[in-house]
């Protein structure tokens, strides 16, 4: 049975602002569904060094398929997308061996947790560059923001 994530008040405000901005800049619904497919293999020339394709596509709509790593706790509004299933909660383990090509997905609203071995499709805007998440301290190099996620 799916679990809805609840967003706290602060995050909802931020999300509302972002949502409005995104709506202004961002094609809605049908256009997003046709976003070009990006594969994990397309992201890096070498791990740590983004590929030309990833750099060119930054800021654009993309869709990626992968697996939802078990989220930290219900209150976060992001999850980690992995090329192969990751069985452990990344933040729960002190020594989680993260693959080098993970993508952090910031959703545009609450999302259902999908079993970590079931494929999901994520559609959103590609963001690249090192960034530390303010709330969790999680460092990411590739992100998909304002994303929708759907179980395949």
């Amino acid at each position: 049975m799916a679990t809805r994530l609840d967003l706290d008040h602060r995050r909802t405000d931020r999300r509302t602002v972002l949502g409005l901005l995104a709506a202004a800049l961002w094609p809605a619904g049908a256009a997003r569904a046709e976003a070009p497919r990006l594969k994990f293999a397309d992201l890096y020339a070498r791990y740590g060094e983004l590929s030309p394709r990833a750099l060119e596509t930054t800021g654009q709509a993309v869709s990626m398929r992968g697996y939802m790593a078990p989220p930290l706790k219900p209150e976060v509004a992001f999850f980690v997308l992995t090329a192969l299933p990751m069985s452990v909660c990344p933040f729960c383990e002190t020594e989680a061996q993260w693959p080098e090509d993970i993508v952090v997905v910031y959703t545009d609203g609450p999302f259902d947790i999908v079993r970590y071995t079931d494929l999901v499709v994520v559609t959103g805007r590609l963001e690249t560059g090192k960034k530390v998440d303010a709330d969790t301290g999680f460092l990411s190099l590739v992100r998909i923001v304002d994303a929708t996620v759907e179980k395949l």
């Binding site: 594969k39 070498r46 090329a83 192969l84 069985s87 079993r115 071995t117 460092l139």
Partner: protein, 500 residues
């Protein structure tokens, strides 16, 4: 009158039995290409001569998790990758003249893990799941009494006899298979000091990384190449390849520095460029740790940040260093991540790593003299991947099963299926029907083959026998169905190691 057909049959049987070889030409199938290939193979096998000299050198190749279906699918994959017929293709080690089946069960388990199986190969005894270099009298995860259960490995015997020794793996060099060359521990998970239990510390058990660097046999390994760098560096030290990560040790020891202090002819490397610069002629001891944890899958190796040598490149350099010793050498080379890919339910990476092992064996065969070097290629245990359906000849091995008449094979659920499937693992749906693969690229490197029993964390090992291939002195002793620990006995006999 019933007697006549019987007499006629008996007569013709007698006639066939005494037909000279040349008369095979007269058979209706004599011009068939398969028939002629069979006759050529017969001639080759008849020419095989066992070698009975002493094996100056021994090389043991282990494909971790390299089940027989992995080999079959691997040969098909390798051939198809080159655009040739896959089914009749051969991986390098399939051309070795002698083969046997290896029974991999352990002292306490029907299906083995890598620890007791590698120990069986290096010391000649079967033991418990989860333990390394200790016999059946030990209690898993209990240090007290473990020292009394320690066995002697062929690597320790080799060092004592003045031979050179080497271990190469794409897994952490403290992982079970390479550890079986040097470590003695009741728990394979004690790879660094942080993982030791209080009972272990109280009773004097050392972690595997420490055991490697403190190994008292001879002058230690001449060659150590693999992953697992974090197990050798203290938590206070940043990793050279990944600056925001540290070592894993909590005892403040830098085992790399300790190793470097031991040798004035030693070189430590951690990336592809440094490895390439190592001149075997000038180096007496070589230590390479190319990743914090396991090395990259071969399929991803080109993307490694600081670069990694391939298994074949590590094998070549290892042999170049070790063969400088006129007494001889004993070397273990492990394709350690065939197993990991299977555990992930990801056949594509398993097959690419199998081909990488084949390349490593080929590299060795091109360098050594089989008159004085025993080469053994085997697996520690099997996995649950099988080759299914009735796919037509040359059907892409990673693809959907397509039959001889060109139609897609389908299950009763009306959906197609891939030729390769796993019995369990992450590829299984939990309480949901399996996916329709009609529009899925099942040949994608990340594709997880469908499985039956859902075990998200890891597909399991399998208990079927694995193959042993061998060439060189006394390789012919590998015939029939043997216990896995028999491998040690042949290597020891061939090299006469305890008498040297």
């Amino acid at each position: 009158m019933k007697l006549l057909p019987t007499l006629l049959l008996a007569g013709s049987a007698l006639a066939t039995a005494t037909l000279p070889l040349a008369a095979q030409d007269a058979l209706p199938q004599a011009q068939d290409s398969y028939f002629q290939a069979g006759q050529a193979a017969l001639a080759e096998k008849l020419a095989d001569q066992p070698r009975t000299g002493r094996a100056k050198n021994v090389i043991l190749f282990i494909g971790d998790g390299m089940s027989i279906p992995t080999i079959t699918a691997g040969r098909i994959f390798e051939g198809q990758s080159r655009g040739v017929d896959g089914e009749s293709n051969s991986l390098s080690f399939e051309r070795l003249p002698y083969a046997a089946l290896s029974k991999t069960y352990t002292h306490d388990a029907q299906v083995a893990d890598s620890a007791p199986t590698a120990s069986a190969m290096t010391s000649g005894v079967k033991t418990l799941n989860g333990v390394i270099g200790v016999d059946q009298t030990v209690k898993h995860d209990t240090c007290a009494g473990a020292a009394d259960a320690a066995v002697e490995t062929i690597f320790e015997q080799a060092e004592a006899a003045g031979l050179s020794t080497g271990i190469v793996s794409t897994a952490r060099i403290t992982h079970a298979t390479p550890a079986a060359a040097y470590a003695h521990t009741p728990n394979r998970d004690w790879e660094n000091d942080k993982t030791l239990t209080d009972e272990a510390k109280a009773n004097g058990c050392k972690d595997i990384a420490a055991q490697l660097v403190e190994w008292p046999a001879g002058d230690g390994f001449e060659v150590i190449l693999g992953g697992g760098r974090a197990n050798f560096l203290p938590a206070e030290m940043a990793d050279p390849e990944v600056a925001d990560k540290k070592g894993s040790r909590t005892d403040k020891r830098d085992l790399v520095a300790e190793w470097q202090k031991k040798y004035n002819d030693g070189v430590y490397v951690w990336n592809a460029a440094e490895f390439a610069n190592v001149d075997p002629a000038k180096v007496g001891h070589m230590f390479g740790l190319f990743e914090r944890s396991h090395m990259q899958y071969e399929a991803d190796r080109q993307k490694d940040k600081a670069g990694e040598p391939s298994l074949a490149e590590m094998t070549a350099k290892a042999i170049d260093v070790l063969s400088k010793n006129d007494e001889g050498y004993v070397l273990m080379v492990e394709g350690g991540r065939i197993d990991h890919a299977h555990h992930a339910g990801n056949a594509a990476r398993a097959l690419v790593d199998t081909v990488a092992l084949s390349e490593a064996v080929k590299t060795a065969l091109d360098k050594v003299n089989l008159d004085d070097t025993l080469v053994v290629v085997t697996a520690d245990h099997a996995h649950t991947m099988t080759i299914n359906g009735y796919p037509k000849r040359n059907n892409p091995i990673l693809g959907l099963a397509v039959e001889i008449d060109g139609s897609l094979s389908k299950g009763d659920d009306g959906k197609p299926y891939t030729t390769l499937q796993y019995a369990n693992g992450p590829g299984a749906k939990k309480d949901e029907p399996r996916a329709d693969l009609s529009n899925v690229d099942t040949t994608d490197i990340d594709y997880l083959q469908q499985a039956l029993v859902p075990i998200g964390e890891s597909e399991t090992h399998a208990g079927d026998d694995v193959a042993i291939f061998a060439a060189g002195p006394w390789a012919h002793l590998f015939h029939g169905v043997v216990e896995q620990n028999f491998i040690y006995h042949v290597m020891a006999k061939a090299s006469d190691i305890t008498a040297r």
